[in-house]
């Protein structure tokens, strides 16, 4: 089966052990090459949905199919191979701050290596070149030997993108990728994502807080509210007024 980067979420619910409902019967079909932005208030379940897509969170019921393969049922080697096709970047960048940029980027490739080879750091010549190319794509090749902690937030996030690219993913998940960044850096990071989406045909699913950003970059906007899918429209049909409902809090009129 060809890997295209389609995601099919079927009746997914997530109830946390303390009884809080994170996701409530979500159905969502994402086509290859879409740039989907998920909007909603904090706690609406955006992160939970994204983290369910690569199984960093288990779901309580329902299925999530990545190119037809159910990640909610996969385990062991099968799960790791599925995850390899789904890259993710995070709100807190999640780099190893003490390690160099190069090592952080190379670590994105571990899914392709045996345990002992990767543990000893025996990355092939091709992959070292791949790491350099990934960094070049986010314009950070000059930081190759710099320690991650010495980079600014925006630079760290772009190293995160370079690391994610090492997986040669079909799907790119971005969990609040720009929430800590200033407007200018935000644009750089979002432009990087957009370029991957357009040039490589990656399916991108991103959680964003800002409606303006969602309007600028998305091809489709999905709204979550209290764990329910309340909104789902292609960008051409989106009206800014629609957001009022998604962002309405209890007690608002």
């Amino acid at each position: 089966m060809s890997k295209q980067g389609t995601i099919k979420v079927e009746g997914v619910s997530k109830v946390y052990p303390n009884g809080v409902v994170g996701l409530d019967n979500i159905n969502l079909e994402i086509e290859s090459g879409e740039f989907v932005v998920v909007v909603g208030l904090s706690g609406a379940g955006k992160s939970t949905l994204l983290r369910a897509m690569n199984r960093l969170h288990d779901v309580t019921s329902g299925n999530i199919l990545i190119d037809g393969e159910d990640i909610t049922k996969a385990s062991g080697k099968e799960l790791r191979t599925l995850r390899r096709n789904i890259a993710m970047i995070f709100q807190n960048y999640n780099l190893v701050k003490r390690s160099t940029v190069a090592r952080n980027v190379l670590s994105g490739r571990v899914g392709y290596y045996s345990t002992w080879q990767s543990t000893l750091g025996l990355f092939s010549k091709e992959d070292q070149e791949r790491a350099a190319k990934s960094l070049e794509r986010v314009n950070l090749l000059d930081k190759y030997y710099t320690r991650a902690r010495d980079l600014s937030g925006g630079q760290q996030q772009r190293v995160g993108i370079a690391r994610a690219l090492m997986q040669e993913p079909k799907v790119f998940l971005a969990d609040e990728p720009v929430s800590g960044l200033d407007p200018k850096t935000t644009k750089v990071v979002m432009d990087d994502l957009k370029r991957l989406n357009e040039e490589d045909g990656l399916t991108v699913v991103a959680n964003l807080h800002s409606m303006e950003l969602a309007m600028d970059y998305a091809t489709r906007i999905v709204g979550l509210k209290a764990g329910k899918l309340v909104y789902d429209k292609p960008i051409s049909e989106v009206n800014l007024d629609d957001f009022k409902d998604i962002y309405a809090e209890v007690g608002d009129q």
Binding site: R80, A87, N94, L95, G111, S118, T119
Partner: protein, 259 residues
């Protein structure tokens, strides 16, 4: 001056504080009498020891250089064996690595048992098991370092930034790869620091292990004391002091560089 609010006389003169202080002194004197502290104390002997020790017999120094070197070697080897062995066990005890409470609890319980034995007791045990000599000292120090590095390391592992763990899992890494790429780089410097700290303690401890027949300089401490050669005891103590100060200084410098 503005009028301060009045306090009762009791509080004004800190009566309760003074009463407690007096009570404490009386209790101390009573318990001293009860346990017989200082009854056999002789000032003459005390000064005699000091006078003899203040004239060190420096000709004794060459004889103790070898045992001193052996002491340091014992500390190094013991710390190395114990410290390295502690790494996998510390991973098993860290709550962010091993999710099973039963496994973690079991590992910690066994390790707590190990740590409850002081070095001297361990040395006595090993002398009984493997015989007199440096090997039993190394064994004792290795077990002690094992427990010490284990405890420090698993607590350090539990405080790491867990973001990189998520990132590695998302990239399709298996658990050993997660440890190698997300956990190990975050705690490696701390591990070296714990290792050096344990080495400092072990150098100090290994100087007295010889007392129990577990090798090193301690044997000479014992012999000179028993022969009442306090002038030689002084040389032994001074040389131990020099070694401990040197090791502590180097270790502190290195640990600062690692921080």
């Amino acid at each position: 001056m503005p009028n301060l609010p009045k306090r009762s006389a009791l509080k004004e003169w800190h009566v309760i504080g003074f009463a407690l202080f007096l009570l404490f002194i009386i209790l101390m004197m009573l318990s001293g009498q009860k346990t017989g502290v200082g009854q056999n104390f002789s000032w003459d002997q005390f000064f005699d020891l000091w006078i003899k020790m203040s004239n060190p017999d420096w000709s004794y120094l060459p004889a103790i250089l070898n045992p001193i070197a052996q002491t340091i070697q014992m500390a190094l080897v013991g710390t190395l064996i114990g410290g390295v062995a502690a790494i996998p066990v510390a991973l098993l005890a860290a709550s962010n690595i091993v999710k099973s409470k039963i496994v973690r609890g079991l590992v910690r319980f066994v390790m707590n048992l190990t740590r409850s034995l002081p070095e001297m007791l361990l040395a006595a045990l090993f002398v009984a098991v493997v015989g007199i000599g440096a090997f039993s000292g190394v064994c004792a120090l290795a077990v002690f370092s094992f427990g010490m590095v284990f405890k420090l390391l698993y607590e350090a592992i539990e405080t790491i930034d867990e973001g990189p763990i998520d990132a590695m899992r998302a990239a399709g890494a298996n658990s050993i790869q997660v440890i190698a790429f997300a956990v190990f780089p975050q705690v490696f410097n701390q591990f070296l620091s714990f290792f050096l700290y344990t080495l400092e303690i072990n150098v100090r401890a290994s100087t007295v292990l010889g007392y129990l027949g577990a090798g090193g300089i301690g044997l000479y401490l014992n012999t000179t004391l028993e022969l009442f050669r306090y002038d030689r005891t002084a040389v032994v103590i001074l040389s131990i002091l020099v070694v401990v100060v040197i090791v502590d200084t180097i270790s502190n410098q290195l640990r600062e560089a690692l921080a």
